[in-house]
Amino acid sequence: MAMRMTIPIKERSGSTSLPFASRIQAWFRLFIIEMRRTPALYAALLIAAITAWGMWSALPAGVVRWDEVSHSAGSAMIPASAIAAGIGAFVARRDERLRLDDQLAQTAFGQARRDLLSLVATLVWCLAGYLIPVAGFFAYASAHATWAGPIWGYVSITVVTIVLGIAGGWFVGTIFPNRFSVLVAVGAALAVHGVYPLSVRFRTEEWIDPDGSVQFVTTEGWYKNLIPYEVLDYSNVARMLWWGATWILGISILLLGAAWWWRHRSFVALIGLSIAALVSGPAAAALIGEEPVMWLQAVYVQPLCEARLGGQIEICVHPEDETLLDDVTAVIEPLIAPVAGIPGVPIRFEEQQPTDDTSGTVWFYLYDEESLDLNVTSSVIRELMREPSGEVLHGAGSAQYVVIAWLLQESGVPSDEGTMITYLWPISFSQRVDEAIAAGITDPNAFAEFMNTGSDRPRDASFEADVRAAIDRFAALPDDERRAWLEQNWDALCSNELTLDDLP
């Protein structure tokens, strides 16, 4: 009896399709194959390297701030989206798979489904390449930052821009399948990011002043807020983030829909195009109308303070710089100790500049541990001697220069000329200040003009020798005598009324 080799059609089950679970399993298997074989893996590695390098190099020494960590997460936007665009163009319309040609030729999945999985695998790898290092740095920040939390806007805008890069590349690779399509896509991505800063000339207009002179003014381009890299800076503002992300995703869907229609003439592509038009249009209109520059106003935060020198001074930092407070006090305390308690000497030293009133408080700039000595010391000595009214003087006269040099010496900083130039200014500058005061110049603009006109004058060696001698003399005074002189003359010293001749 002959064996039946095939089952007659009438005896087969009614449905020829796979059960739902099996179909999902088949999709998943093909997706895993795509994930393992797609060249987007290389793109992911490079995107991860760029992101990690950008975030690492933006970390200040000795302090972790959420603002900087979050903002640096966006620093990879330009190269990451360009690489995403290139890999999108490379993968689009590419049926070749590593060691899988025969297997894929026999799959029951049609070309459209394979394209979809290829696109998804590219998206997943590129986004993973970006998000994994970001997650690592955010975890580090959550463990070490002392104030606030992550700003997701920077990450979100970069993520949707990478999606836009892949969509743009996919579009280029689909309609222009060529070995050079990757470069077209990369060039387009870079051009999109660079169009605003490089179009200054387009936005420059001639302006005739009332006196007849021709001036040039640069206007903000109406398209500025449509460019992802320009939106990045304002993506910590909720409205800008949502409209920006919606606009970028809308354009991405538009490009993918157009590419899908070009290759597959699919109804799904028409749906995508319709959604994109509905979403991106209003978002673009909203973005064009926004003026985000108005939103960037500093907010005063209750500082973290520490009393020193038996309560004679108080040193305050922003809570996010809590880890630097000990270093800051180690710089300020020895610098102020010799004059602490003298009437008129500032008692509060603060990192933030309050918006209402700065009188009585010395404001200093703080960035990180490495630049702390320079930033804090130069800020403090420049603002230490104020006029009794609270104003900061425009420059230190020779008497102030001598006292400041002595204070630096007392705190362990050498007061040689190089150091003084780094922390304060050259001796010749003090000589000009003396001359300005003697000439009765008090107006700030006139003072600045006077200082500029003498900036190229040859050095006066005898004056410099006098200043050096005065510093040595002042440092050699008995403590009691020097303290008494400072208490008696501090206000006059701050008002720049004293010269070398008035020093003890």
């Binding site: 490079l46 890999i87 050079f180 040039f216």
Partner: protein
């Protein structure tokens, strides 16, 4: 054909090209055959399209730089803006030129070409040593027309150095992965350099600082940093020699 075989040193050797041509088996004599192979080689490398890509890159660089203002604008440091645009465009042009060359050296023939005899290294050498100078000459011509706003910084030699380094990296990476993918490397390095400079731009006092980046990025150092120039030349020349000898990987599956 078998009647044309000759015996040399006791071995039966196939006929030479000239013998074949004399016998009418091949329509070309040696010169014609070499010319034809050279032309076909260039066609297989999309030479015309590569030249078009270099022309497009040159035009892009030229036109973008033309958008830089030439008149003083209140609130704008004209020298700094000009220096910024020149520097960023130079990095962009070098990265994209290296990418173009990386894509141009891809061969579509795979194994057939890999087992081909000695003519290919010569072809590879001629192709690369034709393409690279053309690209460099075209872009150098554009760069030489830019305003000199950075004293002590010679942009044309810097461009040549960076282009040599990036092209060398592309060719070296092309030995490891499919050469069609290594455009990512110069794009990444160009992007990293650009982003790094943009981040530091606010703190720069003079335009020359654009070429005094930290010592780790050889692309962002001027010619006074001898180690950067030495690294670029070393990588470039080594990579060119290795490419001419061995070629690059033309598929992900090569073993």
């Amino acid at each position: 054909m078998s009647g044309m075989n000759s015996r040399r040193g006791g071995l039966l050797c196939p006929p030479s090209w000239a013998q074949r041509a004399d016998a009418g088996v091949r329509p070309y004599r040696n010169g014609g055959a070499i010319w034809r192979i050279a032309v076909l080689y260039l066609v297989s490398r999309r030479f015309i399209q590569t030249l078009a890509a270099i022309a497009a890159l040159t035009a892009l660089t030229w036109s973008v730089m033309r958008q830089t203002p030439t008149q003083p604008i209140p609130g704008m440091d004209l020298e700094m803006v000009t220096a910024r645009n020149e520097t960023l465009l130079l990095h962009l042009a070098a990265a994209l030129l290296a990418s173009v060359i990386g894509i141009a050296v891809f061969t579509p023939f795979g194994e057939t070409e890999r087992v081909s005899p000695v003519v290919l290294p010569v072809m590879r050498g001629l192709h690369l040593l034709l393409l690279f100078p053309i690209g460099c000459a075209a872009l150098s011509l554009v760069i030489s027309g830019w305003a000199d706003v950075m004293p002590g910084v010679d942009l044309v030699p810097l461009f040549l150095r960076n282009a040599l380094f990036l092209t060398g990296l592309v060719l070296l990476a092309g030995r490891v992965v499919d050469v069609r993918l290594v455009w990512m490397l110069p794009v990444m390095l160009g992007g990293v350099t650009t982003v790094s400079l943009l981040r530091k731009l606010d703190g720069m006092q003079v335009p020359e600082e654009l070429w005094r980046d930290n010592g780790r990025n050889v692309l962002a150092l001027d010619l006074s940093h001898g180690h950067a120039t030495a690294i670029c030349l070393g990588v470039g020349i080594t990579a060119f020699a290795l490419y001419i000898r061995d070629g690059v990987r033309d598929t992900e599956a090569e073993n």
